[in-house]
Symmetry: C2
Subunit: 368 residues, 2 copies
């Protein structure tokens, strides 16, 4: 599949949904990718099956607080600087790139790289959504190393990290992102083609494009974009269940930038006289949604807050008092619901209690 | 000059004094260096004049809070791992090493490297004492770059930093040292032989050895170690003035680990009925000494608190209520008193007012 500007805009819209509130606002990532395509031309989205076993595949994305990313803009050269340094470290050229996380602005990150380096993007990612910490990735769940990784920042600074475990890597990279001003580009988990094929969420990039296209088309044809979204998720095979959890108005918001993350909670009051209320907790990404005290969705299932008219995703750093929103939940890719994955990306990993319950169980009997 | 175990012990004692309270306790650095010499044999201390113009000279030391360094011990391999990586980055072998700062444990850091790598230590350093921040070094004052630098930590983690200015480098390296657990080994400001010769404090290593030897000999011969210290400083040519500022007992201490530094103040009450009191402020190193409100010494002049019986230096992280101490001041090497240097290492750099006044002016008419 050839990636052009139209596909990029759909991707940005779909990646925003898959970000589950995080991954950074895709707007600047889209501008960067569009500029790169205008300068260097388009490139291909290839299937993981098309990778040679010994190919060098570079996952890339941004690390830091999304609240910072909307005020401190990239200089545009971070991605290429990081990838070129990885090539120097590995002593060979990069054959393909992929998003560490498909969610949010990070879903766009490798598209800048692909245009600039003239390499394809692989149709897969490491999270199938967005997660706040870099070890919350299928590559780590499957025992691969994050290192060597390369961080690059808008000030022109560059750092190479080597650690012997991925949790230390997250801590070091997070500390570095704070020291570099709160946001940095990171190339990490350099993969062989065989590893990228076996240990990634397949099809997530094309699914993001399909989601974005479905919402765009529904709007143009004056159909309900939320129905179109649910249909696209169902068609993907990756995210089989989708539910509208809540419909209301944001009446309270607590949000702070702490330890390199945007953390907080948003309160949404339902329309009408019922007096029902939903509360969503987030750490960069939305983690748990409770309605009147009852849990209706929890990480790693996706929880995305969207404008109730346009179906535009509202990332956690864009939440504001008074916004009219729908809260949409989608089931996580099955690889993220396996026990080994849940210990790293489930509710326990966020201090939210020991057990994960899928949205289709939590909301049994309730329609989409 | 051949460096053996006896010289190392003298060096540790002298470096502790030159640390001005900081640079880390030399005890562990001494153990590491002794072990390295026992394993690999001794090595030479060479004069800067002996360096080839195009030699590769690697300054090394530790970055972090000294309070952490006494509880979180090195694994012993940090120094060599960092230097080997620098060699890989520069594409050549290191010809000699030197201490970034002669003060405290950092004065010992390159001695581990010299034994392990079989290269000489150059008789010079970057600070002539210890300073809390890595850009407070003559290499930076003279416009040289800190990069590439290599940080290594006890957990086995390694990071390479490249920045385009040395203040950003300090911020990034400091953030990394915190993320790595509060302390890390750092190889920075890779120098040519010509640069090391022109832009360093010459003779500081042999001066530290001479100071340590003078104190040791005085103790053995039951002479006053403080007189011996003053004589050794005078003989060095580097630190011409030396004064005993105060003699008393520690009656109060505020100290916290903040932003990767040990910061605080210590209060010392004089003996006898006079009721005189000295207060010393520190940020890793002692920065200013005030007696009853009057400034008696200020950075970059050296202020060292020593056990009043043994003349053992008490580093800032070892200060305790009740210790009987003398506060000794020594004039900084003249390179540090030049205007360009004072803007980076003088009182203004620490928010302590605009003007530097040398101890020999502040204490005119008062004897040593």
């Amino acid at each position: 599949m050839r990636i052009d500007r139209a596909a990029l805009a759909d991707l940005a819209r779909g990646a925003a949904f898959l970000g589950s509130g995080g991954g950074g606002d895709p707007y600047y990532g889209l501008l960067l990718a569009e500029a790169a395509i205008a300068r260097c031309g388009g490139f291909d989205l290839i299937a993981p099956a098309d990778l040679a076993d010994d190919a060098l595949v570079a996952p890339c994305g941004w690390i830091g607080a999304p609240t910072v990313s909307v005020e401190k803009l990239p200089n545009g050269g971070e991605t290429v600087a990081g990838l070129r340094r990885l090539e120097a470290l590995m002593g060979r050229r990069i054959d393909a790139v992929l998003p560490v996380e498909i969610g949010g602005g990070n879903g766009l990150a490798p598209f800048v790289a692909a245009a600039e380096l003239g390499v394809p993007v692989v149709d897969c990612d490491g999270m199938g959504r967005a997660f706040p910490e870099s070890q919350m990735v299928i590559f780590n769940i499957r025992g691969l190393s994050a290192c060597p990784s390369v961080l690059t920042a808008a000030c022109g600074s560059l750092a190479v990290i080597e650690t012997d475990n991925n949790l230390t890597h997250e801590r070091v990279a997070r500390g570095l992102s704070v020291a570099l001003g709160g946001i940095a580009h990171m190339v990490e988990y350099p993969l062989t083609g065989a590893q990228a094929r076996q240990h990634s969420i397949p099809g997530s990039v094309s699914t993001a494009i399909a989601i974005g296209k479905a919402i765009r088309t529904a709007r143009t044809e004056r159909r309900d974009p939320f129905q179109a979204l649910a249909a696209a998720l169902g068609d993907s095979g990756l995210y089989p269940h989708c539910l509208t959890l809540f419909d209301g108005k944001i009446t309270d918001l607590e949000r702070e930038t702490r330890g390199g993350f945007s953390v907080g909670r948003v309160t949404i009051d339902g329309f009408g006289d019922g007096g029902s209320r939903m509360e969503v907790l987030f750490q960069n990404e939305n983690l748990v949604a409770r309605q009147d005290g009852r849990v209706r969705a929890m990480v790693p299932d996706l929880i995305t807050i969207m404008d109730r008219e346009t179906a535009d995703t509202i990332t956690t750093e864009r939440l504001k008092y008074g916004q009219r929103v729908k809260v949409i939940a989608a089931s996580a890719p099955s690889m993220l619901r396996e026990p080994a994955a849940l210990s790293l990306v489930g509710p326990a990993a966020f201090g939210l209690g020991p057990d994960f319950t899928p949205i289709e169980i939590l909301n049994q009997g309730e329609g989409a």
